[in-house]
């Protein structure tokens, strides 16, 4: 709540491992006990409620780089465990690293909100998104089925092996068109 998670999110997700969600009334009561200024207000963080599939909002390369920094932070700390599901505390730890390291990146896109960070971690769990490695650039980047721009490394634009979305992958397109041609040939025989 202090960091900037919205009340609806906090009320419905399990905050600790194997615990139950607190519910809206408990979170509202907890919020009433807070008298100091909230951290996210002090630093003017984005907190507005977001889509549960944040990758749909990725429409530019800068946004992809921003999400990649968060995804790479998660992967750096927890590696393949991100696909088995991160707890709320682990999301916060990754978010802590992300807030620190994004200053270094000097990326022009706006900071990702904590709610978005949580839903991105759920995307990994649901296998909508992955964190492939680009061998040319030596970076881990974010790759999702739902993103609205080319699915590949944000710097060299190459698609990795086993990408989620091969719609812009020339090899995949060639294979599809070849398959269609072969099918057509088979039909006219």
């Amino acid at each position: 709540m202090h960091i900037g998670f919205t009340k609806p999110l906090l009320s419905e997700v399990p905050l600790r491992l194997n615990s139950q969600s607190f519910g809206k009334r408990s979170i509202a009561r907890a919020a009433e006990t807070v008298s100091q200024e909230l951290a996210h207000n002090s630093f003017d963080w984005p907190t507005k409620p977001v889509s549960r599939i944040p990758s749909r909002g990725i429409t530019s390369n800068d946004q992809l780089i921003e999400v990649s920094i968060l995804a790479a932070s998660m992967y750096y700390l927890y590696e393949e465990k991100i696909y088995q599901g991160l707890t709320m505390n682990e999301v916060i730890q990754a978010f802590d690293l992300y807030t620190n390291i994004r200053e270094l990146a000097e990326n022009e896109s706006i900071q990702i909100s904590p709610d978005n960070a949580y839903w991105i971690s759920r995307e990994f769990y649901n296998h909508y998104s992955t964190v492939p490695y680009c061998e040319k650039c030596g970076v881990h980047y974010y790759s999702s089925i739902e993103q609205k721009i080319k699915n590949g490394c944000p710097f060299c634009k190459r698609s990795g092996i086993g990408e989620n979305n091969g719609m812009y992958d020339e090899t995949a397109l060639n294979k599809i068109s070849l398959a269609k041609k072969n099918k057509y040939k088979l039909n006219i025989r």
Binding site: F43, D96, T99, Y133, G138
Partner: protein
């Protein structure tokens, strides 16, 4: 479930997470690292002396550092995370020195996380 209390410690922890915090001593150690590279390169022993002490640094990078001014060397240092040579590929450091690409900083950040 109903008795959630927010403690003082949790509030200060949240403030810490919300704020990017650097470490001045880390910045200073990185700066001293690169200034040492520069000073060894400018000494009579030059690259031969450097190789004995910092074998990770190639001749090309050492030459770039040798002729870089203070502002460029400062750009290689950050108080957020270590960026000295073994942590970053040489091409990235040369890219940062030459400022050849707008995404150099982002690439270096992601490379640090992948290293």
């Amino acid at each position: 479930m109903d008795n959630i209390h927010i403690e003082e410690g949790q509030i200060s922890e949240a403030q810490r997470i919300a704020q990017a915090s650097g470490l001045d001593s880390l910045f200073e150690s990185q700066l001293s690292y690169w200034l040492t590279v520069q000073s060894i390169m400018q000494s009579p022993g030059g690259y031969d002396d450097l190789k004995k002490r910092m074998p990770h640094i190639s001749f090309d990078l050492a030459e770039k550092i040798k002729f870089s001014n203070y502002h460029v060397i400062v750009k290689l240092c950050t108080s957020m995370i270590s960026t000295i040579r073994p942590a970053l590929p040489e091409q990235t450091i040369i890219g940062l020195i030459e400022n050849s690409n707008t995404h150099n900083k982002s690439i270096s950040t992601l490379q640090l996380l992948a290293s």
